[in-house]
């Protein structure tokens, strides 16, 4: 990247506004989040008394840990399934799809930007006892009465979140596959490797950074999701973010909610940092 000399004023003018905004609307809120997490609630009002009660509660009360673990399990499943769906797809697009590559890429991207709500709702109509899937199953005689576990269960949450976040996982995997020089496959075959071996020893290692990024996206976004659980999760599908939502709503305990949010924020940031570290190590440019 070539250096062009810009005046001090120019540089100041371009850095100041976004920097200011980021300070006010990103850093300050997180700071407040931190402060709130150290306060407490007494008789329906937030009291600005500094204490670590919230964190103590999180550690001691097993309920929170349970929900967190369930959330991580769900997020983990979503990540695994998303990866297994998107990796072969990305590989197919990158290495085999020559003529239709552009079109197919667009087709994968489109669901990504089309209303979360629409997609989650679609599953609600499909999975319900009166839904498309059930009536289809009954119509074809596979079952005699509607299958009830489809909706309002962790299963439904995993299914919906996978549907929503698979394109998210796809993007970085596709990008890293595209960066692989095409003649590497040929070179490895030329040297005597079978197609299989060529894939595992050359393509896969080079696609790993992308896969890791995709996995991180899928995991982090799934973990923090609260809309799908509310819509189709039912009582058994509650995730950690739902707990936070209720703490900011009916259960009225902002400080505790802030504490959980802060923990989530830290977890996400840690995951992103770790992921980036590893990606850098695995990348050979």
């Amino acid at each position: 990247m070539s250096e062009t000399i810009y005046s001090r004023a120019y540089k100041l003018l371009v850095t100041a506004p976004p920097l200011a905004w980021v300070t006010v609307f990103l850093i300050a809120p997180y700071a407040f989040l931190f402060c709130f997490s150290l306060w407490t609630v007494e008789s329906q009002t937030i009291v600005h008394r500094w204490n670590l009660n919230n964190y103590r509660q999180l550690i001691q009360n097993p309920v929170y840990l349970q929900v967190l673990l369930r959330s991580m399990r769900i997020a983990g499943m979503v990540t695994l399934i998303s990866l297994s769906l998107s990796f072969p797809l990305a590989y197919f697009l990158s290495f085999y799809a020559s003529a239709r590559k552009e079109l197919l890429y667009q087709l994968v991207i489109i669901p990504l930007w089309v209303s979360y709500l629409v997609r989650a709702y679609a599953w609600k109509t499909i999975l319900g006892t009166d839904g498309v899937l059930n009536t289809l199953l009954m119509y074809t005689g596979v079952v005699n009465h509607p299958v009830s576990f489809l909706l309002y269960s962790p299963f439904a949450v995993v299914l919906t979140l996978t549907h929503i976040y698979t394109p998210f996982a796809f993007l970085p995997i596709y990008a890293s596959l595209e960066h692989i020089p095409r003649n590497l496959m040929e070179a490895s075959q030329d040297l005597g490797a079978s197609r299989m071996r060529a894939f595992w020893t050359v393509i896969f290692p080079l696609a790993l950074p992308g896969a890791l990024a995709g996995a991180t996206f899928a995991f982090v976004l799934s973990l923090g999701d609260f809309l799908s659980p509310l819509l189709i999760g039912g009582p058994s599908g509650i995730m950690i973010s739902n707990v936070v939502v209720s703490l900011f709503g009916a259960a009225y305990n902002w400080p505790l909610g802030a504490a959980i949010s802060l923990c989530m924020l830290l977890l996400v940031v840690l995951l992103l940092a770790a992921s980036e570290r590893i990606e850098k190590k695995l990348s050979f440019r």
């Binding site: 003649n183 040929e186 040297l191 050359v202």
Partner: protein
Amino acid sequence: MSLPAAVSESETLLSIRNVAKQFGSTAVLRDISLDIAPAEFLTILGESGSGKTTLLRLLAGFAHPDRGEIWMAGQRLDTLLPNQRAVNTVFQNYALFPHLSVFENVAYGLRAKKVRSAEVRPRVEQALAQVRMSSFEQRRPSQLSGGQQQRVALARALINRPRLLLLDEPLSALDANLRREMQIELKSLQREVGISFVFVTHDQDEAMALSDRIALLRAGELEQVDTPRDIYNQPRTAYVAKFIGQTNLLRGRLESGIARCGPIEWPAEGPAGEAVFSIRPEAIRLAEADSSAVRFRARVCQQTFGGATDLLQVECGGLSLTVRVPSQGELGQEQVFGFLACNAVRVMEAGE
């Protein structure tokens, strides 16, 4: 037009028989037949679009001939997959594996064949020593210069002891000095290793410097396959004469043993009729009192100093000729030039 290639040894390593290849509606290779001898350095020379890379890929196994067959050492080659062939390739951009060290890159082929670790190490060390890259074992390709990457690519290919090594314009990315250096190295490496090299390039100087034989490819057909000396001194077609080195192409007629081009005549053999002759600029000299030379008087239009030699543009009865003479002071307007009749080579033109 199919030209059987002359091979001096009775044994042939590789035999390309009437191979043709089409991509879509374009015929990239038409009816190619070529034999390659063991331990031969053969260069496939041609412009871009001549089909030379396609021919190489057919040998490597990354493309299949639409017609014809390829045989190697008595067995059918073109039906084998790339990883089944005793053929290895040095790719144009080296295609080194960025995530593996130099050592692992070179060892790749051995590992693919499940060679024991104990055996891998000494073989890799030997291969690297052969290309003088021993101290770079643990480096990554991104840390190497172009020339170094090239040597690693060579080692990586040669360690598998192929019977045939294919090189796809490997020197094109290097600067002039490095190129010359690598040419010398390649040539001596080939002698040392003793296997056949098939080298693809568009650079005729390179071809002439390196090859035992040159196969000149034009628009999917072999124009000529000969040693560098023969292809230079005895070009078969006008295209060959022009592509390799500089030449003068004189059009005229041959009748009753006399070739006539403009005001110049000389005794020549061959069927009567329209004829094109190729005379190399250095074959024309300032005339001496040599009776066997064909003489003609010409006007010197331009004289360009070129170090050891001068390049002259001369004009003679409507003919424009390029003459290369030892460097001398400025020549007068009119000069007498001469050449030996045997240096006027009759060449075919396209369509003949």
